[in-house]
Amino acid sequence: MAPFTVYVLIFLGLPLYEVIHGAFTSDADQLTLHNFSTIFSSSEYWIPLKNSLILSAWTAGLGAVLGTWLAAAVVATPPGSMLRRVVSSASGVLAYFGGVALAFMLIAAYGRPPGGVLTTWLKDIGIDLYAQGFNISSLFGVGIAYVFFQVPLMVILITPALEGLRPQWQEAAESLGASKLEYARHVAVPVMTPPFLGAVLVLFGNAFAAYATVLALVGVTVPLIPAAIEAAINGNVLVNQDRIAFALGVEMILVVSIVMVFYWMAQRRARRWLQ
């Protein structure tokens, strides 16, 4: 136990202490909330927060719906089938390794013509996406890229819950005279709602914390919280920037913590039926 504790204290505790301590102190090492009043009074820091929240929300929602459909289609095949192996491995790749590789794949496919293969091809047949305002290296482009890893993460998260939906329940419902629609309305949907909402929250937190894809796709100029933190650390325009970065960091931790509390509540509900 001791090596683990010491390890975590040094390599997680220490940087975390730096951030929290730095956020609540002034340069003279006095306790202050000044850093927070700065980030909450300036639109320079409001806009990234707003953008991050909006981006996380819509990519989580879209990813969750598409991911559930995909997972439902896959779960219907017997366990151990080739399709399942391929989908679960591919999901793992995108969810855990994704980031930079995914960004470059999307740049190659959807980059500005004549670079992007697909966008160039579309332009040749008369659909010029870039002329219509599309840009893969934009906030919207980042959202598209996020959907590419939100869907597989949803598949990983929701598959166990879908598997827990027992066929016997449908049989029981039908033998009691329920139609398919009634079974869905009174059994399947209520049972699936908590794990679905829980997974949506994980997806939200995942998108909110993500930065790798952004780094490769757009860089520090994107108006999102992680980029604002990077700009504050490595920009070095003003003296007090590090503490701004820390305050933004604490803000991020707070948002994710709130999401986690709701997730935990959804999980407790989910466990009533799905084991």
Partner: protein, 299 residues
């Protein structure tokens, strides 16, 4: 995350991925899946999903095959080895992955075993701690480390931050913890730990020997899963490395070289995606086989 609730198999990441893989091979109770359901919708969804991912992937493959002079060929792929910076970055990242994977197992396996065997009261705390890296975004950990990098005493900087290997590996282990803990915990839960340990100890084996020669082979699949996930995370991580200005690791090098020769970065991306896919795909077969042999074993 369900960790906080402290019950049962969770929905998060590695654990459930691995579990799913493991369950794939379980004979288990007969599940009567119905076959008479309409299959058209499934096919439609699978085709759409396939195209959604396959089309940009194939486009990227084509992109990576376009050489500087406009002709098709493998110049971007051969550049991975012939370009010194890229090659060195690849080696450094592979080194970091290998060491991280080793440290993860050396740290997590004994801890999980100890907690399950002797300190079950700490389970909740362990779950809470290992979930922390998901609550604290990588960019925030990076901010703290970057500050330490700038303010730490010189000897510490020399020891810790001067090289990406020492600067990044320890934190990558932390980043992988939420997934590796769950993978290993799932594995350890599945075996009869107490009996194995009692048998081994009563035959005179030391704790170290018990751990390496008795427990490790029994949780091989879980450990392999944890190792593969750690490799995937380490090979793809870019936030810490770029904030801390380590240019010599692969993802950072990809972004830098991508500014002038994006073809090379795309080629590396494709190889990376295929490599990690094959790791996880092979894991699904190993897991299935192991499970099959489990039923014959006495313990």
């Amino acid at each position: 995350m369900s960790a906080i609730g402290g019950v049962g198999p969770d929905l998060v990441g590695g654990g459930s991925l691995l579990q799913e893989i493991e369950e794939a091979g379980t004979p288990g109770p007969p599940v009567t899946r119905r076959r008479r359901r309409p299959r058209a919708w499934r096919l439609v969804i699978l085709v759409i999903a396939g195209l959604f991912y396959a089309i940009p992937f194939l486009a990227a493959v084509k992109y990576s095959l376009i050489q500087n002079d406009g002709s098709f060929g493998f110049a971007n792929y051969s550049a991975i080895i012939s370009n010194g910076d890229v090659r060195n970055a690849l080696y450094t990242s592979l080194e970091i992955s290998a060491i991280s994977a080793f440290v993860v197992i050396a740290l997590m396996l004994p801890t999980v075993v100890l907690v399950r065997l002797r300190l079950p009261k700490l389970t909740l705390m362990l779950e809470g701690v290992t979930i922390l890296p998901l609550v604290v975004p990588p960019i925030v950990i990076a901010a703290g480390l970057a500050h330490l990098q700038g303010s730490a005493p010189e000897w510490l900087v020399k020891l810790w931050f001067n090289h990406p290997l020492t600067g990044l590996t320890p934190t990558y282990v932390v980043l992988a913890m939420p997934f590796t803990y769950r993978a290993i915990d799932t594995g350890v839960r599945a075996i009869d730990l107490r009996t194995l340990v009692d048998a081994s100890r009563s035959l005179g084996a030391s704790w170290a020997a018990t751990l390496v020669r008795v427990i490790l082979p029994n949780v091989e699949t879980a450990v392999l899963g944890a190792v593969f996930l750690t490799i995937a995370i380490c090979m793809g991580e870019v936030v810490l490395s770029s904030i801390m200005l380590y240019n010599g690791v692969l993802p950072v090098e990809m972004i830098q070289i991508g500014a002038q020769s994006p073809g090379i970065s795309v080629a590396i991306s494709i190889l990376g995606l295929v490599f990690v896919f094959l790791l996880l795909f092979s894991l699904s077969f190993i897991a299935g086989r192991r499970r099959g042999s489990n039923s014959v074993r006495v313990i």
